[in-house]
């Protein structure tokens, strides 16, 4: 997996989180405590997507970005001498 792919994955996760937040997922995230949102099944689904995207953005994305930076650094250090 290239550093570029890792960055795309990390940013993609953050974009999904931002999109779910923009759609109002934050107001339905009480589904995590078993509370039925006023918006019903759609709200429940949106709340779950919002929560999963948040956890991915906070837990996984930094690891992907770290890996991308490390791979990029390695490429830089091992570049052919001209």
């Amino acid at each position: 997996m290239s550093s570029r792919t890792l960055v795309k994955l990390a940013l993609g996760t953050i974009v999904v989180y931002a999109l779910a937040a923009w759609l109002g997922g934050g107001e339905s995230v009480a589904v995590l405590s078993g509370t039925v949102p006023a918006s019903g099944a759609v709200g429940m689904a949106l709340g779950l997507v919002y929560a999963l995207a948040y956890f991915a953005a906070v837990v996984v994305s930094p690891i992907l970005l770290f890996a991308a930076a490390a791979l990029r650094l390695r490429e830089f250090l091992l570049r052919p001498v001209r």
Binding site: M1, S2, L6, G26, E27, S33, A70, L71, R74
Partner: protein, 383 residues
């Protein structure tokens, strides 16, 4: 080394650095009690918001509507005791909650705050729920203990008499919360109400409490782990074993009657149910050996970790009541990480929670003054 293996190795190194450090970003600030109460105070004062809160909670579980009022009232009264400048304002709010609660109970009857299955059969002893009478009595007694309101004395006396009648008539020394279902949570809450009522009025329910405790220690302790079970039939046949959403509240209630047994229950509950993942503390709903499944009390169970929102929330109360700072810190870190906190104008709420969850957390942060009064040291302090 192939590019694929190399990227996996680098990600593994990244995970080893990032995951153990993550909890450092989610430290509690120490002002959560006041900030949570600020948010809920604003909602109580806004009639529309308050009605919406009742509807929202009742849509999932009518019990939550009563329990939220209970924990919120206890938190307001604790703050009234701890901060004299807040006393009058908080008592006004408490009176509003109490008057509305008594009106709702009178208008709707004993089933107002019960799940629909309560209608499936008849109560064995009497058409009353100790869940409802116990929590209302607790609020009345707490209100009277902080600052007596003469017009509430008759209502408190009536609820206390009801609790005595429901518990003493039962072969398990326990009132039913639902038909032929007695709950340890509700019976110990009723006992807490009696203790606060005693501290207010000078009466004594030591014999009833001692009888219940003797029965519970003899019949309601799970031999596998020494924890009190959650529910049993009217005549004492165990229905549900120990549960995280129940036992931490039970231990907190028992502090008023039997401190050693209460501490023993908390220590066992912590050992069986609480756990730590990378600096974040959580709680299981059931002991490890149990095969029980998610229900309305546990809330959804987090896959892989088997953590329960209900148990973790009540563990915050247990940790506060038993001054377990390390567990409290870990649980609050989890709340900041996975509870989706929202701070606005000095007010705090957790969006992954609901108004009941926030009320439990508020009460946990304020815990102390009322229970100290209840243990008998309060009558002097009140003078």
């Amino acid at each position: 080394m192939s590019a694929r293996r190399l990227s996996l190795l680098v990600m593994l190194v990244g995970a080893c650095v990032w995951l153990p450090s993550l909890h450092l970003l989610f430290s509690p600030k120490g002002d959560e009690g006041a900030a949570l109460l600020e948010r809920q105070r604003a909602r109580i004062e806004d009639r529309g918001a308050e009605t919406a809160t009742h509807d929202r909670l009742r849509r999932t579980n009518p019990e939550w509507d009563l329990m939220r009022r209970t924990f919120l009232t206890l938190a307001l009264l604790n703050e009234a005791l701890a901060e004299p400048t807040r006393r009058d304002a908080n008592l006004r709010l408490v009176d509003g909650i109490l008057d509305e609660l008594l009106a709702d109970d009178r208008a709707g009857g004993p089933y107002t705050f019960l799940l629909p299955y309560a209608h499936a059969r008849r109560f064995v002893f009497e058409d009353r729920s100790l869940f409802v009478d116990g929590e209302i009595a607790l609020l009345l007694a707490a209100r009277q203990l902080v600052a007596p309101r003469p017009d509430l004395d008759a209502e408190l006396a009536s609820r206390v008499t009801t609790i005595e009648r429901l518990m003493t008539a039962s072969p398990s020394v326990s009132g039913e919360s639902y038909p032929d279902e007695a709950w340890t949570f509700c019976n110990t809450t009723a006992l807490a109400a009696l203790r606060l009522s005693d501290a207010h009025s000078g009466t004594h329910h030591d014999a009833l409490a001692a009888t219940w405790l003797a029965y519970a220690k003899g019949h309601l302790v799970d031999p596998a782990n020494g924890l009190l079970v959650s529910s049993y039939t009217y005549d004492g046949r165990v229905l549900d074993g120990p549960e995280g959403s129940s036992i931490f509240m039970v231990a907190h209630n028992l502090l008023l009657w039997d401190e050693d047994f209460a501490k023993d229950q908390f220590v066992r509950a912590k050992r069986e149910l609480a756990f730590d993942v990378l600096g974040f503390a959580l709680a299981h709903e059931w002991p490890r050996a149990s095969s029980a499944r998610a229900d309305v009390d546990s809330g959804p169970i987090v896959p892989f970790l088997e953590a329960s929102a209900g148990a973790s929330g009540m563990a915050v109360l247990g940790a506060a009541a038993f001054h377990d700072d390390a567990l409290q810190e870990g649980l609050w870190r989890s709340l900041y990480f996975a509870g989706f906190p929202e701070r606005k104008d000095g007010a705090l709420r957790f969006r992954a929670s609901n108004e009941l969850g926030d009320a439990v957390l508020t009460y946990a942060r304020s815990f102390g003054p009322l229970w100290e009064l209840g243990k008998g040291r309060g009558r002097e302090a009140r003078r």
